[in-house]
Amino acid sequence: MTRLTDLPPAQAKRLAELECPAFDTTPWASGPALSQRRVAIVSSAGLVVRGEAPFRGGDPDFRVIPGDTKPDQLLISHVSINFDRTGFQEDWNVVFPLDRLNELAAEGAIGSVAQTHYSFMGATNPVLMEPHAREVAGRLKQDGVDAVILSPV
């Protein structure tokens, strides 16, 4: 088990007190039962499909991860070194649970899996990410997605 108390005090303090944007609204989108939802993964792990440009420090944009991407095609390019990568090396579902989503869709626990998934890189100014996030929202809606699981590292 790893909790903040397991981290070096300076890192734990920095993470706990990380400045976060204050929003005036508390949006809440409702929808059908989970068994009818189309689900996408949006990661902040700095994921890139092999051969594409890795994230650089501060990059606020996103990378596209097609639903037919194979595990050996996906890399983490996050600038931070303060998180474990050995789990992802062994099994991409630890960060990008596409196999689990496909199984849940096959069983009918969720409606379907999005055609395309997306990755940003955390540790980036959220204000700069906003237009890119809204662009992703438009792409997700075009794909019929009505539930997103947000995967940090």
Partner: protein
């Protein structure tokens, strides 16, 4: 992550965030979040455990069916069983590194270690069907040579157009770490991340080289180099004297 959730939700798409740091999530107040007691880097828990991962993802996704938001933070109850060490794991044997090794010696040891771990890494690739090495686009030998150039104080030019030298160094070091850690995890044992990290940072020439690069950065008068090598080489938990 919570900001992304806010923007997507404003656009009408229901989101649920995995939370690894509960105080941060409490501050940012996302529409829905599932806090998990796992290590940073493992939002869905243990590798190679589909049943456990499935419970995490279902616990998260079921929050989209609740109607008692906005701002819903639930807790996943179980710890990651893979956080425990595997006593059956055997540390890969690599030559000891002298604490006062010269840059030249260390550079030679890095090259030798890369060659020594080649079979173990090939075994990993065969066992897992691939590798996460590849950010730099260089072969492992070239990664080692590029890192060696920095160790010798040469600050070699980046071999990739549009990628600065320091950025290339970050990618090469990421690849070096991935290569060593994958090689070390090959075989039937299931070491914890701490076991693997202890081996890499305390026993290997590649780990010693990354520490040396950090020291080079911190001693540099170039502020950018100081920032990149000082902050993006050795994890905070592994900086000696703090952890």
């Amino acid at each position: 992550m919570s900001a992304l959730g806010h923007y997507l939700e404003e656009e009408g798409i229901a989101t649920v965030a995995i939370s690894l740091i509960r105080p941060q999530t409490e501050n940012t107040k996302p529409p829905r979040a599932l806090w998990v007691p796992f290590e940073l880097g493992r939002p869905f828990g243990p590798p190679g455990n589909p049943a456990f991962q499935r419970r995490v993802i279902l616990a998260a996704l079921r929050l989209v069916e609740r109607d008692d938001g906005p701002v819903l933070i639930d807790d996943f109850p179980d710890d990651d069983p893979r956080a425990q060490p595997d006593p059956a794991w055997e540390l890969p044997s690599v030559p000891a590194v002298s604490a006062d090794a010269s840059a030249e010696t260390l550079a030679d040891q890095v090259a030798a270690e890369i060659a020594m771990l080649r079979d173990a890494h090939a075994r990993w690739v065969a066992e897992h069907g691939g590798t996460t090495v590849g950010l730099s686009g260089l072969s492992m030998a070239d990664c080692g040579a590029y890192v060696a150039g920095w160790l010798r104080g040469a600050a070699p030019a980046s071999p990739r157009e549009g990628v600065s030298g320091p950025l290339m160094l970050r990618f090469a070091v990421d690849d070096l770490k991935a290569y060593c850690l994958e090689a070390a995890a090959s075989g039937p044992a299931r070491p914890s991340s701490r076991q693997l990290g202890d081996w890499f940072w305390n026993r290997t020439a590649c780990g010693a080289a990354v520490y040396a690069l950090r020291a080079i950065g911190l001693a540099s008068e170039d502020d950018r180099l100081k920032a990149v090598l000082g902050n993006f080489m050795v994890p905070a938990a592994r900086v000696r004297g703090t952890g």
